[in-house]
């Protein structure tokens, strides 16, 4: 399976990833078997609501979960399994071959160092080059993420920047060591609409220039449609459906995807009653047997409430985890 040669093929492959948070009196199954692979220059969006396990999956890939998290499965990054790497190796990979941007740049950036210092420090640490070279690279990075008057901005502290600028600075920091995979955890959620589209466009353009793979996690269908090549719809710790952006947006197969799209308000819905998914997502500490969506699903039959739900994949790679996918396709 894992060919260390990394000539072609996926830069990131996740196999059967599961994450459980086990503490004294709780056992939360946050991620329950996630599989995907990602090629260079490709963007996969994990679309899901709160508690779907999308952020936990991302943190598992980055090795950022707390000690009491039990992680199983394989995360192949450039042919090496992240989960078996010793901590020292992992530190080198983190911020190097794989890096991450967050929803709240204020929390990810260190308030006591300037933007320039933080980027230069990361470069020095990973590549061992001189401070001078690192500083020049930092300037180039700020220009690359289109921060106006970059030379001046290098000497700014995070709190001296506006929300959108901070997000750009964090992207620059993440790109410092030319990662092959960029993990993005809701990077546009906290931003204003006019700034959000700027960041989405920036990420798209940077990807074309640098050829990295992006895993973009969001709850926002609009952002997902704007940026993704493929979308994976996540529910209760599993991918309910994966497909190209067109397939997911135009011919959703899984009842959850359909419900999610139908309940997302967009233009031209005035005067109509919104279609909703009744109830709310299940408690991850007490997942129902069978399909986790069955208790809210309009099409659920007995087969949905027991055993493993088969995965149905068509020849284009459009996958849905649903018992009734074949009959319920009227698209």
């Amino acid at each position: 399976m894992p060919d260390g040669s990394m000539v072609q093929g996926p830069v990131l492959r996740v196999e059967d990833l599961t994450v459980r948070f086990t503490r004294r009196d709780t056992d939360v199954a946050a991620v329950n078997g996630v599989n995907f692979s990602l090629n260079a220059g490709e963007t996969l969006t994990i679309l899901g609501e709160s508690g779907s396990g999308k952020s936990v999956s991302l943190k598992a890939m980055m090795g950022l979960l707390p000690g009491y998290a039990r992680i199983d499965g394989r995360i192949w990054l450039n042919g090496r399994d992240m989960l078996t790497l010793p901590e020292a190796e992992l530190r080198k990979v983190r911020g190097g071959a794989i890096s991450m941007i967050f929803q709240e740049p204020m929390a990810a950036l260190d308030p006591v160092y300037t933007i320039g210092e933080q980027i230069a420090e990361t470069i020095v640490q990973h590549e061992g080059c001189s401070k001078d070279t690192a500083w020049k690279r930092a300037l180039g990075l700020l220009e690359q993420v289109k921060i106006p008057s970059a030379a001046r901005r290098l000497k700014n502290y995070p709190h001296e920047m506006s929300g959108g600028m901070r997000q750009r600075a964090m992207i620059a920091l993440a790109l410092a060591c030319s990662p092959s995979v960029l993990l993005a955890d809701e990077p546009t959620t906290a931003l204003d609409v006019t700034v959000q589209i700027q960041i989405l466009l920036l990420l798209r353009q940077l990807q074309q220039e640098l050829g990295m793979a992006i895993v973009f996690v969001t709850h926002d269908v609009g952002a997902a449609a704007e940026i993704s090549d493929r979308i994976a719809v996540m529910y209760a710790g599993r991918f309910a459906e994966t497909g190209t952006t067109r397939q997911i947006m135009r011919q959703p197969l899984h009842p959850y995807t359909k419900g999610l799209l139908a309940s997302t308000v967009h233009g031209g819905m005035r005067g109509t009653r919104l279609e909703t998914i009744p109830g709310s997502p299940p408690n991850l500490a007490h997942l129902p047997p069978g399909c986790a969506f069955a208790p809210r699903c309009r099409y659920a039959v007995d087969a949905c409430r027991q055993g493993d739900i088969p995965v149905v994949t068509d020849e284009t790679g459009h996958m849905a985890r649903c018992v009734r996918v074949e009959e319920a396709v009227p698209a």
Binding site: E49, M165, D192, Q196, L201, G222, M249, V265, H266, R270
Partner: protein, 357 residues
């Protein structure tokens, strides 16, 4: 959507359907920024500056804008959670806080608010039914009656009282808590409900449920809404009329169809063009606006949008544009714009379509 005409007689209705339920004139709030050892005022945040609008009986007025535009401050000013520096608020013909008008307390019985954060807006030490019954009890409703009514309200917002009445906030999901907050706001039987980003923190599937609920409640209880949100799609869905705010001022206002189909202010147009298209084949390729909204501390002179506006001219820096109906054209007079530059207001078709090139 002429809901105003269908309102049956409310004993509290004073001026009839033609009189606006809420009339706001020249509302202003500037927050001092203090600093230094002596705590001197060093700057001013012009959070709300000269804002005027009206809300008709039975309609939903949507307020959109980005962070720092003053929409939430406006809500808090209306509720008198903060004191305005200047301006008049007239509730159904009565000036609020005026000797000859209506007291702030009486106004609050008729005007209630739902906050964004469903968790912090509920007292963690009170059960759901206690929270809902609290305000009526403080206003003298006997305990038993207040609790019965609270349970009825719970049912009304779609929560089974038997299951949820005695629960605490942390035992409910965000959507359920927001339903309780809505019930709490309705407990005093208000006529106007201010919804300040009331669905912003909810998941999309839950958001749709709450929006449907708000629609039903409005119909069955003859409510009037002031719907504040940053989400353009949700505002379009909910509102009869829309008001767009930028850095503490109103830049455009009018009927929802008119605003969404023919936005006139350059800011409104940029805002709409920034909306994700939801169509993988027609993705946005050009940024409608660059940079972030400027800081409301010491905003630009004249038209506050001029620093980011492609049509800006010298006069935009000199004079504050007034909210006026366009001189000519097909739009009706209720659609008003605050812009000096007529050519900026002419919606060129390629400008609105710029995203889909």
């Amino acid at each position: 959507m002429s809901a105003a005409l269908q309102i049956p007689l409310d004993p509290r209705d004073r001026g009839g359907p033609a009189q606006p339920l809420l009339l706001v004139e020249n509302l202003r709030k500037h927050f001092p920024v203090r600093g230094g050892i002596l705590n001197r005022q060093t700057a001013t945040v012009q959070a709300v500056d000269d804002v005027s609008f009206s809300v008709r009986k039975g309609e939903t007025l949507g307020i959109v804008g980005e962070s720092g535009c003053g929409k939430s401050t406006t809500a808090r000013l209306l509720m008198r959670l903060i004191e305005p520096d200047a301006g008049d608020v007239i509730f159904d013909g009565d000036a609020v806080g005026d000797r000859r008008g209506i007291s702030v307390n009486d106004m609050r019985r008729q005007m209630q608010m739902v906050f964004q954060d469903s968790y912090t807006s509920l007292n963690p030490r009170m059960t759901m039914v206690e929270s809902i019954a609290y305000a009526p009890r403080m206003h003298g409703t006997p305990r038993r009656e207040a609790i019965d009514r609270a349970e009825m309200l719970l049912h009304r917002v779609g929560l089974n009282p038997r299951q949820y009445a005695r629960r605490y906030p942390h035992e409910l999901s965000g959507g359920q808590r927001q339903r309780v907050n809505i019930a709490r706001a309705l407990a005093l039987e208000p006529r106007l409900v201010i919804l300040d980003e009331a669905v912003a923190a909810l998941d999309k599937s839950v958001e749709a449920q709450v929006l449907n609920l708000l629609g039903e409640l409005k119909e069955s209880l003859n409510l009037t809404y002031l719907f504040i949100s940053h989400d353009l799609n949700v505002v379009e869905y909910m509102s009869d009329r829309v008001m767009v705010m930028y850095l503490g001022r109103v830049v455009e206002a009018g009927p929802v169809e008119s605003i969404y189909r023919h936005p006139r202010h350059p800011y409104t147009r940029a805002l709409f063009a920034s909306k994700p298209t939801l169509d993988p084949d027609r993705r946005t390729t050009e940024m409608p606006l660059t940079g972030d909204p400027p800081n409301p501390i010491n905003p630009p002179s004249g038209c506050r949008f001029r620093t980011r506006c492609a049509f800006a001219q010298p006069r935009c820096a000199e004079r504050v544009p007034e909210l006026l109906a366009p001189v000519a054209g097909d739009a009706d007079a209720s659609h008003v714009v605050a812009c000096h530059v007529p050519e900026a207001q002419t919606p060129k078709h390629h400008t609105t379509e710029v995203g889909h090139a």
